[in-house]
Amino acid sequence: QQQVKQSPQSLIVQKGGISIINCAYENTAFDYFPWYQQFPGKGPALLIAIRPDVSEKKEGRFTISFNKSAKQFSLHIMDSQPGDSATYFCAASSRGRGSTLGRLYFGRGTQLTVWP
C-alpha cells in the first residue's frame, strides 16, 4: 500500500516557468514532510521540509504548500531553471516510538525536465 501518492510522474516545464508537484497521504500520524531532489547517479538530497503546524514554507525559489485538512502538500519551483532538472520525491514520517521514529515513506517520484 502506497503511503504517499505523488503526481505527476513526469513534468516538462519551460525555463522561467513554475513547476508544481503534488503529494497526498492518508496517515494522520505523519508530522514531517520533506522533499528530496535526486540527480542521476546520485543519492537523494533534502531540498525543503515542512511540519503540519504551518501552511507554507519558502526557501528561495522553492515553496511547500501544505493543506492539513485535505492531507495534501505540494512543491512549487518558481522561475524553473535547467539545473533544476532532476527527480523529486516527496516523503512523510511520524514521531513513532523507538526505531520507527523518523522512518520515511516516499512517493514514487516526479522526473522534472526544464527546457532552456
Binding site: 520533506p34 528530496y36 526505531s99 523518523g102 520515511l104
Partner: protein, 112 residues
C-alpha cells in the same frame, strides 16, 4: 565534505556470487538505513538500525543481510544476487532526535 560515504560507487557481480556493499558515516548518527532503488522508482527500505537494534522490513528477501559492527559502519550483504537485485543501493543516516535523513551517493549494483 562527504558525510555518508558508500563504497564502491559501482559494483559488478556475477549471478549467485556473494557481494558486500559498505557504508560509513562521519555524523555519529545512531540510526542507519539501507534502501534499494530500482530505475524510476522510489527508494524502498530494506532494513534499519537504531543503535544496534536491527529492524528488518517484512518484505525484505532473506537473501539480504546486514551488519553494523560499530556506529560508523554498516554493511549490506547479498548472499546470492539474482538479476532482479540489480539496483542502486542507498545508505542513509539520521540522528536519534532529528528528522532529516542524510543519504550517501549510492552503490550501483549490476548482476551479470
Amino acid at each position: 565534505d562527504a558525510m555518508v560515504i558508500q563504497n564502491p560507487r559501482y559494483q559488478v557481480t556475477q549471478f549467485g556470487k556473494p557481494v558486500t556493499l559498505s557504508c560509513s558515516q562521519t555524523l555519529n548518527h545512531n540510526v542507519m538505513y539501507w534502501y534499494q532503488q530500482k530505475s524510476s522508482q522510489a527508494p524502498k527500505l530494506l532494513f534499519h538500525y537504531y543503535d544496534k537494534d536491527f529492524n528488518n522490513e517484512a518484505d525484505t528477501p532473506d537473501n539480504f543481510q546486514s551488519r553494523r559492527p560499530n556506529t560508523s559502519f554498516c554493511f549490506l550483504d547479498i548472499r546470492s544476487p539474482g538479476l532482479g537485485d540489480a539496483a542502486m543501493y542507498l545508505c542513509a543516516t539520521r540522528d536519534r532526535g532529528g528528522t532529516e535523513a542524510f543519504f550517501g551517493q549510492g552503490t550501483r549494483l549490476t548482476v551479470v
